[in-house]
């Protein structure tokens, strides 16, 4: 066994992955169930090795604006929070999207609305994929279902953010944040050099040194025609992302009568429900969206072909189900099974719901 393989909590994995990617800075404010991200960063003390800044801000509002500032300089920066903290960050999210700066924002969701509970939830789906702040913008939204994906999606999130000059978001939940699993850690990458930033982020505000015209990062444009032009440019980028970046894992979908669509922890629990269903001779397949935006329309459509019905399994009162219906153009019966407010279903609950809502009705 090599020393890159270890056992880690999902939250700790996020922290280590950020250091190993060569992050320049983390700005955050503690909140359960993701406080281990900041704790692990403080423990690792990357400022003494890679030079990465780790700063506990005075609030989530401050943290997101520090990220906005760092990103505007072409730096590789991130923040992490949980649901109530993510609500506080929405103004900053909208500003960063309008300013076309690359950044990584992590939300390890807990039960809401309001301060709610500290236990797992997926009820910030709308907020993440439909735009929680004002204006027409989108976030590249990645949904990890394992501790390994917590590691991998930090790199993927930043790669996509820099590629499209967009904000990437990791939308996890308390289950994935709190559980420990085996992970393979990537090699330590060096932080981006000033030369790299000048070459790859010509828009960054990092001092022009008399070599180029002045760069301005702003979300304000009072000329309506120019602002419309900006919006068309944002939308063109979003269409490009929708075309290139849909990701979805399909499990047993080639020969199934029923399809479960679930992401994150719910995909894991549904997987077990699928195994239990197989023991009873019920053929179930799973489509696990990895990108929630762009929603993996093509994969879901393919997986749905020939099924009798679809069950959306969510820790929300039915948010992703709307995207499933849109993706499948309401050609199949789609029903919902959910638990709310921090409660998490066991595999048999999902199986029973599948039988009650689909198998017994549709045969």
């Amino acid at each position: 066994m090599n020393d890159k393989v270890t056992l880690m909590k999902g939250n700790e994995a996020l922290a280590v992955a950020a250091i190993r990617y060569g992050a320049d800075g983390y700005f955050g404010y503690p909140i359960t169930p993701q406080s281990e991200v900041l704790e692990k960063l403080e423990e690792e003390m990357p400022w003494e090795t890679t030079g990465m800044v780790v700063l506990q801000a005075e609030s989530e509002v401050a943290a997101i604006n520090m990220v906005y500032a760092g990103a505007s300089c072409g730096k590789t920066v991130l923040t992490s929070t949980s649901s109530p903290g993510f609500s506080l960050m929405q103004e900053g999210m909208s500003y960063m999207a309008a300013s076309e700066v690359p950044a990584l924002v992590i939300n390890v969701m807990r039960g809401g609305p309001g301060l709610g509970t500290i236990h797992p939830s997926q009820a910030d789906y709308f907020q993440a994929v439909k735009g929680g702040g004002h204006g027409d913008y989108r976030l590249i939204t990645l949904a990890p279902a394992s501790v390994q994906e917590m590691v991998d999606f930090v790199a993927l999130g930043w790669d996509l953010a820099f590629k499209y000059r967009a904000v990437s978001m990791i939308l996890a939940d308390g289950v994935i944040g709190q559980m420990m699993e085996k992970v393979v850690l990537p090699e330590q990458r060096p932080r981006h050099t000033e030369e790299w930033i000048r070459e790859n982020c010509p828009w960054a505000v990092n001092g022009r040194k008399g070599m180029r015209p002045k760069n301005i990062i702003t979300s304000l444009e009072l000329d309506d025609d120019k602002m419309e032009e900006n919006n068309h440019r944002f939308q063109a980028t979003y269409r490009e992302i929708e075309k290139n970046e849909q990701r979805c894992e399909l499990i047993n979908t080639d020969d199934c009568d029923y399809l479960i669509v679930a992401f994150g922890s719910m995909a894991r629990i549904s997987h077990k429900a699928m195994e239990l269903a197989a023991e009873e001779g019920i053929k179930v397949g799973i489509a696990r969206p990895i990108t929630l935006w762009p929603f993996p329309v093509d994969a879901i459509r393919k997986a749905a072909q020939g099924v009798k019905g679809i069950l959306s399994v969510e820790l929300s009162a039915g948010q992703m189900i709307e995207d499933i219906k849109l993706a499948t153009e309401c050609n199949y019966p789609v029903d919902l099974f959910c638990r709310l407010g921090g409660n998490v279903p066991a595999p048999d609950e999902i199986l029973n719901a599948l039988k009650e809502k689909l198998v017994n009705k549709l045969g």
């Binding site: 066994m1 393989v5 270890t6 056992l7 359960t32 169930p33 500290i118 236990h119 308390g174 289950v175 709190q178 559980m179 420990m180 699993e181 085996k182 922890s265 894991r268 629990i269 549904s270 997987h271 077990k272 429900a273 699928m274 195994e275 998490v344 279903p345 066991a346 595999p347 048999d348 609950e349």
Partner: protein
């Protein structure tokens, strides 16, 4: 091989760390492992439980409704988890403070006197290692050698001198299992 275990007791009994040591031991044997705690206020004195899954193959759900083995360390946990052991599965419980013993006949039940054993070896802190030793006697899913390796990985170097004491506790635990 796949073993789905729940360990449950009071916060402070070392439930979570026992699970963690087991998970690390699985890692040492190059198996897939998942450790899923109950988190929140129970860490500060209420009931705590942890699910540990050790498997040769990819692990699906970290949340389960039926377990191969339940290791329970108080009455509340026994009441909750006795019915969640798969038929033919294993239930191990510490006899201390148990007023209503388990009644199922379709599972293998082991009553161990782990609390008393801590007094015998004069080390109350080794409680969870005694229980782990008992568990591994019934279900030798990982070797004691790998448990000690896992322990070395979880403990900071300044505590490595405690490893022989833990080994003794594991061995003591194994003696508590009577067929």
């Amino acid at each position: 091989m796949k073993e789905e275990i729940v360990i449950a007791g009071f916060g402070g009994q070392g439930v979570l760390s026992m699970g963690k040591i087991l998970a690390y031991s699985g890692l040492m044997e190059d198996k897939e492992v998942t450790w899923m705690p109950s988190y929140g206020p129970e860490q500060r004195g209420g009931t705590a439980n942890v699910t540990v899954i050790v498997s040769d193959e990819r692990i699906s759900s970290p949340i389960l409704n039926m377990y191969d083995t339940a290791v329970v360390l108080n009455q509340q946990s026994l009441d909750k988890f006795e019915k969640m052991v798969k038929p033919g599965g294993v239930l191990i419980y510490d006899s201390y403070g148990i007023n209503t013993p388990p009644t199922r006949t379709d599972i293998r039940i082991y009553r161990i006197a782990a609390t008393e054993a801590t007094i015998e070896i004069n080390n109350s802190k080794a409680f969870n290692m005694i229980v782990l030793g008992a568990y591994l006697k019934v279900k030798p899913i990982v070797t004691i050698e790998n448990v000690l390796k896992g322990l070395k990985k979880t403990l900071p170097e300044r505590h490595w001198h405690l490893i022989p004491m833990n080994e003794e506790a594991l061995k003591k635990g194994a003696t508590l299992i009577k067929e």
